[in-house]
């Protein structure tokens, strides 16, 4: 009897589904997008090679997985190369209703994104899928990130069918952390992914992490829980006046060993070595714990505890003279270099670092990777909840700070290679929740190679060398930064006018114009930044 039941069940599965790449191909609820064949069909229907060459003018790399190429991504992923016939076949198998219209949303207001949406609409129409697209505005978070009350069965609280978004990761775990139960607004629970997310976050062993990344990539690839579209590159642009003198290039959105103190620039007509750049503040300097390396102050005016290379792999100390992680991964000890001072001449102490660790725990918009590391420190929870005056896991002995973790964190060194301590004395009486609102951020006193000299908000900011900087006084005599940003049309105007000797952009359409300038050199940098489609598999009101 038992045997007969098993046979019957097996036959039923065979009759109602097609196994594709190990995936049981059938919908799991009334939403047809919960059928992997439909999701695979969408992948096959979009010709990313052509889109990358045309819309992105070759400045995008079609993606076959979430992770960028490298040792942590398996090489056997299905790239879902453009195959409209295969897409139609899968849709027919899945019984796709050609009258159903997919609602696709996005939150980038640039022309390239709109063009991409139009292209996707045409590609999907070619295989029999109707699609509309719309730009999300206002409170985008509530429209894309709200997890269902029932994260297993839904219904979803977001109403779209597909979301065009991105993952810009500092740590590779960030690509997958939302797959943990209760983290996803659009995908039903996947028990194995929960285990794997815990696995890559619970070890410092790169081999074990790699196993986890491989398996997660394969699961996502086979089931098409997301459709990776393309890897975005970052472009560093420099005028020919500027010379890095051999310093490396890297991911400019974060902190790395770019050796700016050794850079030189041809003097201007007055004989002064002045470098022009962008990312000056419009109203206030941003706390350097949120967007870790983006603003002029983060890059030039603050040092980090440790230092990483251009690929953001920790390679040594910056403010740290020595540091170590215990064998069990639960204790991080750092000793700051002797004689370090803030730009106002006061000493940088272990107490400053300890205060900064605590403040960053409470500051609500600390970068998620940094936050995740700090949250695992002993006593962090009680401190954040206001039940303790200090973090019990952080102790100071002169210039040495010892940090004890309650659980292993895989990114301790990465976090401290991006973490810039702040001068505690400047924040007396300031609740870290409102750290950004402190007067300090009108003209911060930093620790980096350049100190902030003159600030005219939304007009310009100047920085001058910090005499006696511990890695050597910078050679550039003055930096003049304008409040222009990578998505800003003024970036090109300033670059053309010779008012941008250094900067970066991820806007592919700006790259040909920058490259066309005789006095400008553009360096493409591979960064972990993947643009993708999230697919809403939960039942929702528009189904």
């Amino acid at each position: 009897m038992q045997f007969k039941k098993l046979i019957a069940t097996g036959l039923a599965v065979l009759m109602t589904s097609t196994a594709i790449g190990g995936v049981v191909a059938q919908p799991i609820n009334e939403n047809p997008l919960s059928d992997p064949r439909v999701r695979q069909a969408i992948s096959y229907a979009i010709d990313m090679d052509t889109i990358a060459e045309t819309i992105f003018e070759g400045a995008a790399i079609p993606a076959d997985g979430l992770l960028p190429d490298g040792p942590n991504k398996p090489t056997d992923l299905n790239p879902y190369k453009y195959d409209p016939d295969k897409a139609r076949e899968l849709l027919a198998e899945a019984g796709w209703d050609s009258n159903r219209e997919l609602d696709v949303v996005f939150y980038y207001a640039d022309q390239a994104t709109t063009d991409l949406m139009a292209a996707m609409q045409a590609y999907l129409a070619d295989v029999g899928i109707k699609m509309n697209y719309r730009l999300l505005e206002g409170d985008i978070g509530s429209q894309i990130s709200v997890v269902p009350d029932d994260p297993v069965n839904g219904p979803s609280k977001v109403t779209w069918d597909m979301l065009y978004g991105a993952r810009a990761a500092l740590a590779l775990q960030e690509y997958f952390n939302r797959y943990a139960l209760g983290g996803k607004p659009m995908i039903p629970n996947i028990p194995r992914m929960n285990e794997l997310v815990a696995k890559v976050n619970g070890t410092t062993d790169p081999e074990i992490q790699r196993e986890g990344y491989f398996e997660m990539e394969r699961i996502i690839n086979e089931n098409v829980y997301q459709i990776p579209l393309y890897y975005q590159q970052l472009y560093t642009f420099e005028s020919t006046r500027l010379n890095r003198n051999g310093a490396p290039y890297g991911n400019e959105q974060y902190n790395y060993n770019w050796g700016v103190e050794g850079w030189t620039i041809e003097p201007d007509a007055s004989g002064k070595a002045v470098m022009y750049t962008n990312t000056a503040p419009a109203q206030f300097f941003e706390v350097p714990w949120q967007n870790l390396g983006i603003w002029v102050s983060n890059k030039f005016a603050f040092d980090t505890v440790l230092e990483s290379d251009g690929d953001l792999l920790p390679i040594g100390g910056e403010m740290a003279d020595t540091y170590s992680v215990s064998d069990d991964g639960l204790t991080f000890t750092v000793t700051l270099k002797d004689g370090l001072t803030w730009h106002d001449g006061t000493a940088i102490t272990g107490d400053d670092l300890a205060w900064s660790i605590g403040a960053a725990m409470k500051f609500p918009i600390t970068h998620p990777v940094v936050k995740s590391t700090l949250a695992k420190i002993d006593g962090a929870e009680a401190f954040v909840a206001g039940e303790a005056d200090a973090v019990s896991g952080v102790s100071v002995d002169g210039n040495t700070v010892t940090v004890k973790f309650a659980t292993v964190d895989p990114n301790v060194l990465l976090t401290f290679s991006q973490f810039a301590p702040l001068p505690a004395a400047q924040f007396e009486g300031v609740d870290p929740i409102n750290l950004q609102q402190a007067p300090y951020w009108q003209k911060p006193i930093g620790s980096g190679p350049f100190k902030i000299d003159e600030v005219v908000m939304n007009d310009y900011t100047t920085l001058v060398p910090f005499e006696g900087y511990h890695k050597g006084t910078p050679k550039i005599e003055q930096i003049i930064a304008s409040p222009s940003y990578e998505n800003d049309a003024n970036l090109l105007v300033n670059a053309t006018a010779g008012k941008a000797d250094f900067g970066y952009t991820k806007v592919a359409s700006d790259v040909p114009a920058l490259e066309a300038l005789d006095h400008m050199v553009v360096h493409p940098i591979n960064i972990p930044y993947t643009r993708m489609l999230w697919i809403n598999q939960f039942p929702h009101p528009t189904n």
Binding site: Y107, L136, E137, G138, D139, I140, G141, S142, Q143, I144, S145, G165, A166, R167, A168, E174, N177, R178, G183, P185, A282, Q283, F284, Q290, N291, P364, I365, H367, P368, K371, D431, I433, N434, Q436, Q437, A438, P439, W441, Q442, E454, V456, M457, N458, D459, Y460, T462, Q478, I480, S482, P483, S484, N490, V493, N494, T496, A497, K499
Partner: protein
């Protein structure tokens, strides 16, 4: 007239209150809040919702909007403008640094457009039907029709990038000490801003002048043997000036918030661009005083126009 002016000033207060309430309500109806704009959407999904909620509460965003509005209003009438939600900067500082930049731009644009617009309008009227009139009419139509950002970009391309005569943006540079140091930065944005204004004033002045020149008192003046320039300027232009003054008066407040495109194109750190930025980031404490400023500018300009009209044109009697 004094009674009229006092009455108008008293009416300003409830009008400003109601308009500010409507602005506040409009902001409230916009999805999201200041906190949701502090974090990029790409990063938002990884943030801790409880900490974000704590931030909302600490910034006072958890209270009902009418409580926040009343709190803002009562602070305002006590002279407390408050602080920016996003950066904690005193609003008074923001206005004190940004408003002069915008007024500087607006004043020069208004002065230039008024003088040049009136001269060209009068010349066009006096040479009605001539090639000069036709040429000025075409130029005027182009000035009114083509968006100012286009003129801005063309000006940057020609004078900033190709010829290198003028800076492409910004209001000042390190080492500038006086107004005259900043003049090269001011030239392009103020002239571009004045193009559309000049064209408008010119068209208005021309029509008004033609209307005045057709009046009987002009014929009377000519019949009395007055010199032609005196007929045109003292008799014709004075009457023609009334509608032009109304136009210019009503443009003054528009210039405060209306130069935002020019501020954007020329990277000019004015109040208009600050206003747009604050609206986008739902920074109510910044939006409201600037909105109030604009409201008051419109209402006061309206009052000034009435008074000036009465002074220029003796036939106008205020309050009757």
């Amino acid at each position: 007239m004094l009674t009229y002016i006092i009455r108008r000033i008293l009416i300003l207060i409830p009008m400003a209150f109601v308009i500010c309430f409507l602005v506040y309500l409009g902001l409230e109806l916009t999805p999201g809040d200041a906190v949701s704009h502090m974090i990029s959407p790409d990063m938002l999904g990884s943030m801790d919702p409880e900490r974000l909620e704590a931030l909302r509460q600490s910034l006072g965003l958890g209270q009902p909007f009418y409580v926040r509005f009343w709190s803002w209003f009562t602070n305002l009438i006590q002279g407390n403008f408050g602080y920016s939600t996003n950066g904690g900067v005193p609003i008074a500082n923001i206005i004190a640094t940004r408003l002069p930049a915008t007024l500087e731009l607006a004043a020069i644009a208004l002065l230039f457009s008024t003088v040049i617009g009136c001269i060209l309008g009068v010349v066009s009227a006096l040479k009605r039907g001539s090639a000069t009139d036709s040429a000025l009419t075409v130029v005027g139509m182009l000035g009114v029709s083509i968006p100012e950002f286009f003129f801005g970009l063309v000006a940057i391309l020609i004078f900033g990038l190709n010829l290198g005569w003028l800076p492409v943006g910004g209001r000042s540079m390190p080492g500038y000490l006086t107004f005259w140091d900043r003049v090269p930065h001011l030239v392009m944005p103020s002239l571009v801003l004045s193009i559309m204004l000049t064209a408008g004033v010119m068209r208005y002045a021309r029509s008004s002048m033609l209307d005045a020149l057709s009046r009987d008192f002009i014929k009377t003046a000519r019949s009395k043997g007055l010199p032609e320039w005196r007929v045109n300027v003292l008799h014709g232009f004075r009457v023609a000036l009334t509608p032009v003054v109304v136009l210019i008066g009503f443009r003054l407040p528009v210039l405060i918030g209306g130069s935002v495109i020019i501020e954007q194109v020329f990277q000019w750190p004015g109040i208009g661009i600050e206003f747009i930025s604050a609206v986008r980031s739902q920074d109510y404490p910044v939006v409201m005083p600037i909105a109030l400023l604009s409201v008051m500018a419109v209402l006061i300009a309206s009052l000034i126009v009435d008074i000036l009209t009465a002074l220029i044109d003796p036939r106008v009697r205020l309050g009757e």
